[in-house]
Symmetry: C2
Subunit: 248 residues, 2 copies
């Protein structure tokens, strides 16, 4: 792991870019941590949504709140072919960026992303300010598409927020991750809060319920709110933070 | 409204029995309120479950917590033919008490219960210690079967906890309240937290989802937990309290 800069501090939060190298691949990430460090703090790994990147506005606000309100560090990396790892960027085309569509057709996408997260996990818990026994995962939508296999594979994750994902709907058909999720969901063993948007236009709620049902952990709960895919209300996001903060 | 006793106080909670009279019917109830009253407090009306009564252990614990943790008064009444209004009592027979089965076949059950709650509401907000502008409803299972029509009819209810109820499952078939709920759910206009037990053996979750979907309010959320009908975890009950406390 290599720091990219000395970090900047704003309102108690120090933000610092890093690279993790894995098999020649350079994974760019950001760590947000309390500026005043008194001892090792818990960590939440944040998986961003599709056609987004590690420093998207929602993720940034979430990370800062983890630090400021809970004294929990947060980290995000660019997913494969996203952000600085390009070429996928946000597009107005409802069909999605061509390279985004291609991403889901490549057989190694899930395994690569699991390995990326594990390398990042290993690097970050090696830092003196991070408590490696208290690490959680937060990822909705593509953060679940790519994050669920990671949470299933990584027993050191103590709690996870998942959701806005399932086996039905336009995005599920395009994603072709149903088989992978059906195999991995029963292996998710940590406490989970699963978020569903009742009127999700990308993932049908029935398929989301099916995914929740398959999660292997008995310590799970589902929160559903009216609205479209991207309309999780502040109440819902707050509950995901409180959920992880109470368990890390 | 008539007090039945002078009240007893335990750990900051004064519990006092009352009667409300309506069309010759005597409705027995209990009010739990802060022993040290500094001004009008909010009120939560608690509807008990089937074959139970106003002072059941769960309801009692819930009422005391509303008072102790939130400074909110709570009140419960015996439902028609329940508790002191007999003859329905808890039975080990999975088919249910005969008079309980009969209750759902009488055409006036819902209207009587709505009127009972409204008379109780009117009586309690007439008390100097109660703030009539801040009244909520809490009722799961039969507390929703009989309480949803009340919440739909009573616009003065500011927020409601409903759930463990729906259009499918053994209890739904026996209850025959589907038509009433289909008509009333769209009229529920206040914020609602709806609770679902994922493995509910009495109400199927699909039918519960359908009921949630029909609720007219846009300010609604659904919390689901693994387990049978009566296995709502402490986390789930706590969330219902926090929900009402934040809105009253």
């Amino acid at each position: 792991m290599e720091w990219r800069d000395g970090g900047t501090t704003s309102m108690g939060v120090t933000e610092r870019g890093f690279f993790v190298e894995r098999s020649g691949d350079l994974i760019p990430g950001i760590l947000w941590a309390p500026a005043e460090v008194t001892g090792p703090v818990p960590l939440v790994l944040i998986g961003h949504g599709g056609q987004s990147e590690k420093r998207n506005p929602n993720g940034l606000a979430l990370a800062r709140r983890f630090v400021r309100r809970h004294g929990i560090a947060a980290a995000a990396i660019d997913a494969i072919d996203h952000g600085e790892r390009g070429p996928i960027v946000a597009t107005e085309d409802p069909a999605g960026h061509l390279d985004y569509i291609a991403l889901w057709k490549r057989p190694d996408t899930f395994d690569r992303m699991v390995a990326d997260w594990q390398a990042t996990f290993d690097a970050l818990i090696g830092l003196p300010g991070i408590d490696g026994e208290r690490v959680g995962y937060w990822g909705l939508s593509m953060g679940t598409m790519l994050g669920l296999p990671f949470v299933a594979a990584e027993s050191r994750i103590k709690a996870a927020v998942l959701g806005l994902c399932g086996f039905t709907g336009a995005s599920a058909v395009r994603g072709r991750f149903g088989d992978r999720h059906r195999a991995d969901a029963p292996r998710v063993a940590c406490p989970v809060l699963f978020v569903v948007q009742w009127d999700d236009e990308r993932f049908g709620r029935d398929g989301a319920f099916e995914l929740f049902d398959l999660l292997g952990t008995k310590d799970k709960r589902l929160h559903a709110y009216p609205g479209l895919h991207a309309e999780v209300p502040p109440e819902g996001t707050d509950a995901t933070r409180e959920f992880l903060a109470a368990r890390l």
